[in-house]
Amino acid sequence: MIDSLHTEKQSDLLLIKQYLENRDTSAFNELYKRYSGKVYAKCISMLKDETLAADATQEVFTKVFLKLGSFGEKAKFSTWLYSVTYNYCIDFIRKQKRDLQLFTDGAEDLPEVIDDEEDDEELLAMEVGRLRKVLEEIPPGDKVILLMKYQDELSIKEISAALNKNESAVKMQLKRAKTKAKLAYRKMYSNN
């Protein structure tokens, strides 16, 4: 029984508890090993530069280390970690390009799209290479909200907590981001 407990992969929360209570750095190291690759891949996807992504990954884990004591266990550790990652990348992009549009705003004249499961299928079924290019075309905030929803499979409530926005604002932003992505797709691949 004890052996099986030792060999079983420890949960993130158990590792956090182990680190906070015993200052066991091997527990933090395990969390790092578990998630650093994913965080680094997300940073490359957002920042498009390996050096910047490496710096961002280091900053994200430094923030996580400093704020781990205030992690409330209300969310999953991965949800919290990814929200720190996305927020860091959005802030970085905002600082680099002050005049860049982060989210599609309401002033833009976007056609109405029916928002249901069927409507999601068009987005989710885009061929991977094309999807990657579409995500490059839309504002970074829209990209983040789509990645949170469809890649990390976060709920509206979790996204609103991560981005510090209310739920109706997130729903509206998500709808605009989906419309923007589909329009970008049709514009780029309408001939095929």
Partner: protein, 80 residues
């Protein structure tokens, strides 16, 4: 959610392209964690002693507050 989710496939491909973060990041992050742990241990060990020393510099009595003098005992009515 629809069965075919190519956002997941995109994530998989991104991770296959960069399966690990560079090793130097791990060294730097774990260096910070170890330094933090060392600082925490130092504070835990010496903080109370530092506070006592600080109070003594401002004229506080270095005696333990639980130690009763004969005058304290008389004041509290305790008979020795």
């Amino acid at each position: 959610m629809a069965a075919n989710n190519n956002f997941k496939q995109l994530e998989k491909e991104d991770q296959e392209m960069t399966p690990h973060a560079p090793r130097k990041i791990e060294r730097q992050v774990m260096g910070l964690v170890n330094t933090g742990q060392f600082a925490g241990n130092v504070i835990e060990l010496y903080f109370t002693k530092f506070i006592k020393l600080f109070l003594m510099l401002f004229g506080a009595d270095p005696k333990e507050p639980t130690e009763l003098t004969s005058e304290d005992a008389q004041d509290s009515g305790e008979v020795r």
